[in-house]
C-alpha cells in the first residue's frame, strides 16, 4: 500500500510545487513550509529537492541566488513561462481527475439501479417471446 500512496503522491506533489511557485517564488526551506502548510502530509527535503532538480532540468522552473539579511544566500526558485503553461494544463487536468474520482467513488443513485434492472427484465421477456 505504501508504494501505491507514493505513486499517487508523486505527480500531485509536483503539481503542488508548481502551484506554490505560481503564486510566489520560494527557496527550498520556505517551499517545504508552503507546500506542506497546514496539511498533515509529511514533506521532507528528501522529497522536495529531487523534484525541484527534475523540474529545473525540464526547464519548468529556474533559480536565482539572492542575498539574505540573515545567514547565507538563498536559492530562489520560480516558474519559467513553460512552467506557467505546464501548471495551467496540469491543474485543469487535475481538477477533471479529482471530479472523476469524486463522482465514481460516490454511491450510484438508486434510480439508476432500478433502470438497469428494468432493462434486463425487458430483455429477458423478449428472449422468452422468441
Amino acid at each position: 500500500m505504501d508504494n501505491k500512496i507514493k505513486q499517487l503522491r508523486k505527480g500531485i506533489l509536483e503539481l503542488a510545487i508548481l502551484g506554490s511557485l505560481h503564486h510566489k517564488s520560494h527557496y527550498g526551506f520556505s517551499l517545504i513550509k508552503a507546500v506542506s502548510g497546514e496539511s498533515d502530509i509529511e514533506l521532507t527535503e528528501g522529497t522536495i529537492y529531487p523534484i525541484l532538480a527534475r523540474l529545473s532540468k525540464e526547464q519548468l522552473v529556474t533559480s536565482e541566488w539572492v542575498e539574505s539579511k540573515q545567514g547565507p544566500p538563498r536559492k530562489y526558485y520560480f516558474l519559467t513561462p513553460n512552467g506557467e503553461k505546464a501548471f495551467k494544463i496540469l491543474s485543469a487536468e487535475f481538477e477533471k481527475l479529482a471530479n472523476m474520482v469524486a463522482n465514481t467513488s460516490r454511491k450510484p443513485l438508486s434510480q439508476n439501479k432500478n433502470e438497469n434492472r428494468k432493462s434486463i427484465s425487458v430483455k429477458k421477456e423478449k428472449d422468452d417471446a422468441e
Binding site: 507514493k6 505513486q7 526551506f29 521532507t44 528528501g46 529537492y49 529531487p50 545567514g71
Partner: protein, 234 residues
C-alpha cells in the same frame, strides 16, 4: 559558514559538509558549488526555524532530516551517479581481472596491450592450426589418388613428380604410398574434428570477459533504475 553558529554546531556542520564535498569530487565544479551552497542555506534555514532548544540536538535533528550525503546526492542526481568517472573504467578492470584469473598475470590497465597481444597470438595459433589441418588433408587425398593411378599406370606423372620407390614392386609400392597418404589425410581430418573443441574453448575464453561486462552493465542499469524510482517515490 555564518558566524551565528556556535563553535560546536559549526564543527558538526563542517564535518557534514566535508563529507558531502568528498562525495561530489567527480562532479563538475559548477554543479558541486551550487549543491553545497544550497545545502548550506538549507541547513541554516532549518536550524534557525527548528524549535528544539538544545543547539547540538537541534543541528543533529536538521542533519538527520536532510539525510546522509550519499542519499542526498543519489536522489538528486541519479543521472550524474551513472556517469561518474570511476564507473567508466570498470569494463577494463573486469577484463584485466579475468586475465589475471586465467593466466595469473598481474595486469594493470597498461597491461591491456599485453592482453591484446595474447589474443592476437591465440588467433594466429588457431589460424596456423587450421592451415596445417587443411594442408594435411589436401596432400593426403591428392597423394592417395596419385598412388591409386600409379598402381594401374606406374609411369603416371613421372615427368612432373619424382617418387623414389620404397620397394621395387610397383603394385606393393603403390599400396604402401596409398596407405601413407590415407593416414596423412586422416590425420588432417582428425585435426579438423579436434579443432571444434579448441574453437569452443577459444570462444568461451573470448566471450567470457564480454559476458561479464554485459552482466555488470545490466546490473548497474537495474540498480540505477531502482534508485531513480526510489528517489521519485520518496
Amino acid at each position: 559558514m555564518p558566524n551565528e553558529f556556535s563553535e560546536t554546531v559549526d564543527k558538526i556542520v563542517g564535518n557534514y559538509l566535508n563529507r558531502f564535498k568528498q562525495r561530489l569530487k567527480s562532479f563538475p565544479e559548477q554543479d558541486r558549488d551550487e549543491l553545497v551552497k544550497e545545502i548550506q542555506s538549507h541547513i541554516y534555514e532549518s536550524f534557525t526555524n527548528d524549535p528544539t532548544e538544545n543547539e547540538v540536538e537541534r543541528i543533529f535533528n536538521v542533519l538527520d532530516k536532510l539525510g546522509e550525503p550519499d542519499d542526498v546526492i543519489a536522489s538528486r542526481m541519479p543521472e550524474a551517479m551513472v556517469s561518474l568517472g570511476k564507473e567508466k573504467k570498470r569494463p577494463l578492470y573486469i577484463l584485466a581481472g579475468v586475465f589475471i584469473a586465467l593466466f595469473a598475470l598481474p595486469l594493470g590497465l597498461g597491461g591491456v596491450a599485453v592482453l591484446f597481444g595474447l589474443v592476437v597470438t591465440l588467433v594466429a595459433l588457431i589460424f596456423s592450426y587450421y592451415v596445417t589441418a587443411f594442408s594435411l588433408t589436401l596432400a593426403g587425398w591428392l597423394c592417395a589418388v596419385i598412388s591409386v593411378i600409379k598402381i594401374i599406370n606406374p609411369y603416371f606423372l613421372d615427368s612432373y613428380i619424382d617418387w623414389t620407390p620404397i620397394v621395387s614392386d610397383p603394385t606393393l609400392n603403390g599400396i604402401i604410398t596409398l596407405s601413407i597418404s590415407l593416414i596423412t589425410a586422416a590425420m588432417g581430418l582428425l585435426l579438423f574434428w579436434f579443432g571444434r573443441y579448441i574453437m569452443r574453448g577459444f570462444k568461451f575464453l573470448i566471450s567470457m570477459p564480454f559476458e561479464k561486462i554485459k552482466e555488470m552493465r545490466k546490473k548497474r542499469r537495474l540498480n540505477g533504475i531502482s534508485k531513480r524510482q526510489e528517489a521519485h517515490h520518496a
